[in-house]
């Protein structure tokens, strides 16, 4: 029933796939919109690679995005982290496209699912952990014990730092998924309310103008949230990558 505000988040299989190890390979509406986002990004930036001396609009757009992410990494993590540039670029635009595609009324918002945001977050934090140990060895664990504190303080600080490190992927995934889900639920609830008021007729039909204005405002807000959450995810990735290079923070 379309009036259920949670209906829009339902995963529907399109092509049933076999079980492959731990994975169910069933191709769903979620998988479809992941690929729509991926091919959208590839086509957009593929067209932006004309490498002309005087760039056209699309090439300018591509170069602005390139330099935006490059500056984000260089300012937040440092010039030595440039090898993570493709990863941060892919993360930012994957989330941005998934969020913005989800604004289409008939589309599925892949980033409104905890499975997707948690997989991305644990991947980022796991990568920081593995690269940190690969680069610094056991010294990497100094991120849990900042130097220059009175000895007694370490009994307090180390558990706090460990908990905050473990909370990173949880916070990262829940922030993105909850933002996307809440916005879509709110839009749906307002829209259902409009339909309900119009269906009631009479004075109620006229009163439907209030939720219509509200829905319009929320749509604008959701576009902002879509871009902002992609930015937050990318910049927090850069902040966490900072630990790989600067163990003494």
């Amino acid at each position: 029933m379309a009036a259920d505000p949670m209906h829009q988040f339902e995963i529907k299989p399109i092509i049933e796939g076999p079980q492959l190890g731990p994975f169910d390979t069933t191709f769903t509406n979620s998988s479809l919109w992941m690929f729509v986002a991926v091919f959208g990004i590839i086509i957009l930036f593929g067209l932006a690679t004309s490498r002309k001396l005087i760039p056209g609009r699309l090439q300018s757009f591509g170069e602005i995005c390139y330099e935006f992410i490059m500056d984000m990494i260089k300012d937040t993590t440092g010039p030595e982290a440039v090898k993570y540039f493709p990863l941060v670029f892919a993360l930012f635009f994957f989330i941005l496209f998934a969020n913005l595609l989800g604004m289409n009324p008939w589309a599925f918002t892949t980033t409104s699912h905890l499975a997707v945001t948690a997989a991305l977050s644990f991947f980022v934090v796991g990568l920081v952990f593995i690269m940190g140990i690969a680069k610094n060895g056991l010294k990497f664990f100094k991120i849990f014990a900042p130097s220059g504190l009175p000895f007694i303080m370490y009994f307090l600080i180390v558990p706090i730092e460990i908990i905050s490190f473990i909370a990173r992927p949880v916070a990262l995934s829940v922030r993105l998924f909850a933002n996307m889900m809440a916005g879509h639920v709110m839009l749906k609830v307002f829209a259902i309310f409009i339909a309900f008021l119009v269906g009631s007729g009479g004075i109620f039909a006229g009163a439907a103008i209030v939720p219509i204005i509200g829905t319009t405002a929320i749509v604008a807000l959701e576009f902002l949230v879509a871009a902002l959450q992609a930015f937050v995810f990318a910049i927090l990735t850069c902040v966490y990558l900072n630990d790989v290079y600067h163990v003494d923070h």
């Binding site: 259920d4 339902e10 995963i11 299989p13 994975f23 191709f27 590839i42 499975a115």
Partner: protein, 180 residues
């Protein structure tokens, strides 16, 4: 509610989807994560190997080109400064030379003029002294003739008005008395 999604063929999907948030239906997680790994890996590899290097070289090529052009421009500016310096030097030399020429010419002309003036003055002085000699001579002559004229005039006056006939010698002595 969600139980009406009859096109969901998997019975477990229906059963668990009806129990609450679709996001917490863990039966769909492995499928989502599987396709996320595939699609995101595809995106990452295409961006990493194909698209981003191309955009990067585009930006770098332009930066190189701009740096080269700026270098070339500053080289040209230096050249033009050198050319303008050389021009200034040549101009100053030419001015100095022209000044010298003008000076020497003026000096020689001045010398010529002075020589001519001197020559003319010398000629004039000769002519003047000759003229003065002649004037002096004429004056002396005139002065010597004045005595004779005075005697004759005196004689004539005395004859006419006094009926006296003095001798020429007495008149001459009287006049020379008056003159001295």
């Amino acid at each position: 509610m969600a139980t009406e999604t009859t096109h969901v063929e998997d019975a477990t999907h229906v059963a668990e989807a009806s129990s609450g948030l679709p996001q917490l239906d863990f039966s769909t997680w492995s499928s989502q994560i599987f396709w996320l790994i595939i699609s995101f890996s595809l995106l990452y590899i295409v961006l990493w190997k194909l698209i981003l290097p191309r955009i990067g070289t585009g930006i770098n090529d332009r930066a190189d080109r701009i740096a080269d052009d700026l270098d070339a421009a500053s080289g040209m500016q230096k050249e033009s400064e050198q050319a303008s310096d050389a021009y200034d030097r040549v101009m100053a030399n030419a001015k100095a030379k022209a000044h010298n020429i003008a000076e020497t010419t003026r000096k020689s002309v001045d010398a010529d003029i002075a020589a001519e003036i001197e020559a003319a003055e010398a000629k004039f002085a000769v002519k003047q002294s000759a003229a003065e000699d002649r004037i002096g001579k004429i004056r002396n002559e005139a002065l010597s003739k004045i005595d004779v004229v005075a005697q004759e005039t005196t004689l004539a006056i005395l004859e006419k008005f006094g009926n006296i006939k003095p001798t020429a010698a007495s008149v001459k002595s009287a006049i020379s008395n008056v003159k001295s």
